[in-house]
Symmetry: C2
Subunit: 474 residues, 2 copies
Amino acid sequence: MSSYTIVDETVLEKLRAVCGAENVKADEKTLKAFSHDKVAEEKYAHRPDVAVFPGSTEEVAAIMKLANELRLPVTPRGGGSGLSGGAVPVAGGIVLSLERMNRIIEIDTDNLFAVVEPGVITKELDGELKKHNLFFAGYPMSEEICHLAGNVAENAGGGRAVKYGVTGRYVLGLEVVTPEGLTLNLGGKRVKDVTGYNLISLFTGSEGTLGVFTKLYIKLLPRPKHRLALFGFLPTPLTLNKVLPALLADPEVQPSSIEFMDSLCIESVKQTAPKSDVEITPGGAILVEVDGPTLAQIEAELQRVEQILTAHGVSGIRKAESEDHLEEVWKVRKQVPWALMRIAPHQSLEDISVPVSTIPAMLDEIRDVSSRYDVPIPCFGHAGDGNLHATPLKPEAMSVEVWLETLPKLLSELYVKAAGLGGTISGEHGIGHKRSSYMKLVLGDAERDIMRRIKRAIDPNNIMNPGKILVDED
Amino acid sequence: MSSYTIVDETVLEKLRAVCGAENVKADEKTLKAFSHDKVAEEKYAHRPDVAVFPGSTEEVAAIMKLANELRLPVTPRGGGSGLSGGAVPVAGGIVLSLERMNRIIEIDTDNLFAVVEPGVITKELDGELKKHNLFFAGYPMSEEICHLAGNVAENAGGGRAVKYGVTGRYVLGLEVVTPEGLTLNLGGKRVKDVTGYNLISLFTGSEGTLGVFTKLYIKLLPRPKHRLALFGFLPTPLTLNKVLPALLADPEVQPSSIEFMDSLCIESVKQTAPKSDVEITPGGAILVEVDGPTLAQIEAELQRVEQILTAHGVSGIRKAESEDHLEEVWKVRKQVPWALMRIAPHQSLEDISVPVSTIPAMLDEIRDVSSRYDVPIPCFGHAGDGNLHATPLKPEAMSVEVWLETLPKLLSELYVKAAGLGGTISGEHGIGHKRSSYMKLVLGDAERDIMRRIKRAIDPNNIMNPGKILVDED
């Protein structure tokens, strides 16, 4: 990475000429704020040399042309809510913040499409869609801060993917500025399109390494009018192997969420919020949400869910009989990440994805690794699609130095075990630079080689978010 | 294409050494059968030099290594049901038929996955899935003959895409042999996966130009227990602009099919099957199907559909009150392509895809082009996703020579108009070589350049189904 140009006053002047002086910032506060995303470990932070805030596609294209000509690394940035370091400029250079390009261009109620600029906050779009009884189904749990283009760059998942799929399913058009500064117009408001290679899907989830998104066409659905949920305690983790196929193969229920948290997570919630009325069972807890057009229909669905769960020994079931009680049912699940963060600020929020039927086996592996390393690894996540946020926590007695030495070994073991079960190292958070050195544990030489060739074909000078997904030395 | 090696006896001997003599065929009958797919126009046919029938991934890999080394063009072939020439070996060389690799390897009822070899016939898988109350939602209308890997290679659509999406949504794992003969293992039974670039989506719909599929992991759904449908006549094409948004945005209905056929199609059916009880209205006809877990639920849905349609003047509604009458309701729609083929064997089945709200505008454009060229262009297809099979028919009085001269001009005009409405030249049939020369009408230089770079990156010697999607001279 030493072959990149240094950002000096001449470069800054050229950037100011493109975006205006007020949109080119190199002050300490900005550079510090843009040196990290939401990854807990400080070692994954890296400061940019300059933050640039373009206001239009043309400005983005001009910046990319300049960067490509001068060999300046460029890292696009959305809301900074990423969990794999995707927006962290590991080679320095330019952070390209899309926050000024935040217009909802159009809500098209005839074609059920939202056309938006990249920097629109997910929740903001949702508020707008609510007025039209429409719905973008792909949103992640950081909806209050995450930008739509960031969701697309990471192909974000979230708690509703079991019914609705992930972000990519809803991205049917993209305007993308390439590393060389050309603007691609891909797809649009047509629903079906087989005009050559599926570049939209290639760019989706490419973590800012192949281009900058400047406009998104998002397919909308009719907004489900009602939601209900229930929460209960599992006798053992193995119960999941009965409950999940039963829920997923039943034609009469289609849960919008099937969430899981293990007993360690429940304990953490109890510890940090002592008033929580939770049971500690060896199996942890499950949460199932249903949504739909009529209350009668989803009440019937929820009743069926309850039957399935109680038939398999799930206890202490709390049901949101109306939507007013929905938040109550979700409360424990939503407290989990915060409780873990309070207990252990030194932690690694992981994102293993395995075939659904192997969740109990994966939980066994996690417990085994946990006990051998003497590191607690609470685990929660989206059981309905096998996406487990195992979260190794630094024990209080362990020094930070030992923790930093231990963690990579521990993670390697977890990842190898996930791979052995037919799983992978990330289901929705991405690789970024946090997981890049582990790619070879789950992908072979041939697969990584094809990815590298694609990267080189689209970004021949390797200026677009370098150091992410695949590292040089692997 | 002149730089390819000629298939001589030495080459044949090497192929026999890989697959066995009985699986390497160069007889007239085989070569003729493998010189075309289901595209009507004879000019798109081209004979291979040899047809090879591998029995395993290893054999496919050995063939590709050999072909890459010797510079032999290889065109993979499924069931031959394609509609854009995807399986036609335009540069000669090897046709690689996957028909011997036709095992259903596994129906995994815990994870809801089918693992299959490439040559499994779609309907055969469906029959197997029926036994388990499971369902592969992505199947196209040629289900009786099409191979699953062919569906994936073309990213096939079909009549249910409006509810279930197209084939690609269900392909979560692929084993692919690259043009250089390496075997890639991508995805599998995990539902969520963001481990680097989405190669599965890149290979899906790549029409055999990037690799050979040797194993597929297909996500299944619970099988909808019941289906009902209705059929009615539209007062004018503009009625679609009222009916479609009403159907698509209504949270209480989720049609599995919304099919359309214009008045010319209806006339053709009447002409070829005089007993058909059809009305000729300026607006043509609409068919809506619903499916779901309980009869009560879809009866309510169908009633709502009927309300919406009658509110907008749709007349002569025939409702399948039970599933026994389903075929009757579908009959006219299914007769359309056969009726058109009988009336005019010289025809071009097109596959325009436009934003749903622009269907009436596109129908206007089609009528305009039709009257200027004096060529009838009946139009039918999947209205719910804007996918219109406009089908120019050679008038009896027009010579074949004039027809072949006229058609490209006429198609160019149709395509430019589709593009002007935000549409494209193919929604589900693919580009192949039938539409490759028109790619520049709907994609710019930058977009096509990126596609070419990807092709070169993965197939540096251009041996994999050459002459498809993008032609050299465009």
